[in-house]
Amino acid sequence: MKGWRFFVPLGVFALFLGIAGYQLTQPKDDFVRSEMIGRPMPEFAMRPASPDRPGLSLADLKDGTPKLLNIWASWCIPCAAEAPHLATLRARGAPIVGVAIRDRPEDVAAFLERYGNPFDRIGADDLSELQLAIGSSGVPETFVIDGDGTIRYQHIGDIRESDVPVLMEKLREAGT
């Protein structure tokens, strides 16, 4: 009986369908990652988003010290969830600057009052201009910027406890 060999093409065909079906049912990665890693931050200058911290400009990032740049907003729920972990990063010596997306000063003040203020500076990005310019696709996101103002790393979503050591390590790498 040699007829089985005629089923080889059918088997190959079924294999292709199987692969396509498998790939269709795999969960996909919804993150849109920035393509700006390794590139310099654009020129920008933002007004202060809260009365008790100065605003943010490119010159502030190019002062030689690597920093965390946290993109957040008072209306964003995960931003509240990551607040304690930003405080931990701050306590471990990470300089953090903030960019408040589409936010009113009174809302920013209320949020910081409630969840703490780990930021040295907070710029207001009312038209998401800086956010678009650095390839950030939502809030919260955290970028590691080195002392020359080059983007080194992007963390998408809220910072969890397990992300704290990763960000500290990336910050250290950016300083070498």
């Binding site: 080889v8 269709l24 919804d30 393509e35 201009e129």
Partner: protein
């Protein structure tokens, strides 16, 4: 069928996003005065993908970020910039994802460091299709030589392989570097933990068999199925406090930890069905903490402790958690 349902859900699910209180950007909803410029802007906006909503262009989306992108497109076009230059600017930041025309018009990538010898490179896209063609040829040779495929079947196998290659040519992206990544948070283990935590309160006597079955689903992270079974159970026994609590937990997990009105209602019903039991209050507190409402969770748990009988076995455990919550609140500076 399940896979199909998941696919449907993935296609129709809208991201639950909080909205800001700011007015939309000036040119988010306002057209440019000059109809010719507006038409150019419109053409570009219809082919830029909304970053927050996946299957809409920024022209169709009401997401604030899409509004800010429209504002940027319109103001830059009004300033005389070429639409394709703006598309390239976007793609330099967000990659192919942001443009519906990405596959057709790929912007020039920055030159890779090729050392001092700047040889004329073969376009990457062409080189990368070589392995798959070799693989197809090898498969054909294997079938003919090793499996001794009869000659009449050669054309059939050839057609099948071409079918596979066509699919690869349409969907494959061999030019893209591999990107290994860490496993995502295991939803299942979270479900198992929740079940164990609940059983620790109500155990050791086993729950109703409906709850047992539902727990099986919850352990595997299939919270919608668990909730479905529990609803069936509650139609028969509406006052089973453990089933009500399991339903509340399943609803909360299914909403990715968001405390929905339905979940809150289920917690309330669980409390009503089994007054004095710590389960509903405890898990509602956990849900509140996960939604960032620490202070509310604190007052809930503090109230429970106050009312708890002095000999309640769960007193110490709750008191300890309350202390930890206080530390968390102090840390976040509330």
């Amino acid at each position: 069928v399940r896979a199909f349902v998941i696919l449907l859900l993935a296609l129709t699910a809208l991201p639950l996003a909080a909205q800001d209180a700011m007015p939309p950007a000036p040119y988010a909803y306002r057209q440019l005065e000059d109809p010719a410029l507006e038409a150019r802007a419109q053409g570009l906006m219809e082919t830029l993908r909304c970053l927050k909503c996946q299957s809409q262009s920024i022209a169709d989306s009401d997401a604030p970020m899409a509004g800010d992108m429209r504002h940027q497109v319109r103001t830059r076009i009004a300033a005389g910039e070429d639409p394709e230059a703006i598309r390239e600017w976007m793609m330099t930041r967000y990659g192919d994802y942001v443009s519906y025309l990405a596959a057709i018009r790929r912007p020039a990538r920055p030159a890779r460091d090729r050392g001092s010898l700047d040889l004329a490179p073969v376009p990457e896209d062409r080189v990368t299709f070589v392995p798959i063609l070799l693989l197809a040829a090898a498969a054909f040779a294997f079938a003919v030589v090793a499996l001794r495929l009869p000659r009449p079947a050669w054309a059939l196998l050839g057609a099948t392989l071409l079918f596979g290659l066509t699919g690869y040519a349409l969907q494959g992206s061999p030019g893209q570097a591999g990107s290994p990544k860490a496993a995502a948070d295991d939803l299942a283990s979270q479900g198992a933990e929740l079940v164990e935590a609940r059983r620790a309160i109500y155990g050791p006597a086993p729950p109703s068999r409906f709850v047992t079955v539902a727990d099986g689903f919850a352990r595997r992270g299939q919270f919608a199925d668990a909730a479905g079974i529990l609803r069936g159970s509650l139609e028969k026994q509406p006052d089973d406090p453990e089933a009500l609590l399991a339903l509340a937990n399943a609803l909360m997990e299914h909403a990715d930890g968001q405390l929905t009105p339905a979940a809150v209602y289920a917690y309330e019903q669980a409390e009503r069905a089994g007054p004095g039991q710590p389960g509903p209050g405890f898990f509602l507190g956990v849900a509140l903490i996960r939604s960032g409402r620490l202070v509310q969770a604190r007052s809930l748990w503090a109230g429970m402790l106050e009312k708890a009988p002095a000999d309640a076995p769960w007193r110490d455990g709750l008191a300890e958690r309350l202390d930890r919550l206080d530390a968390l609140i102090a840390q976040s500076g509330a």
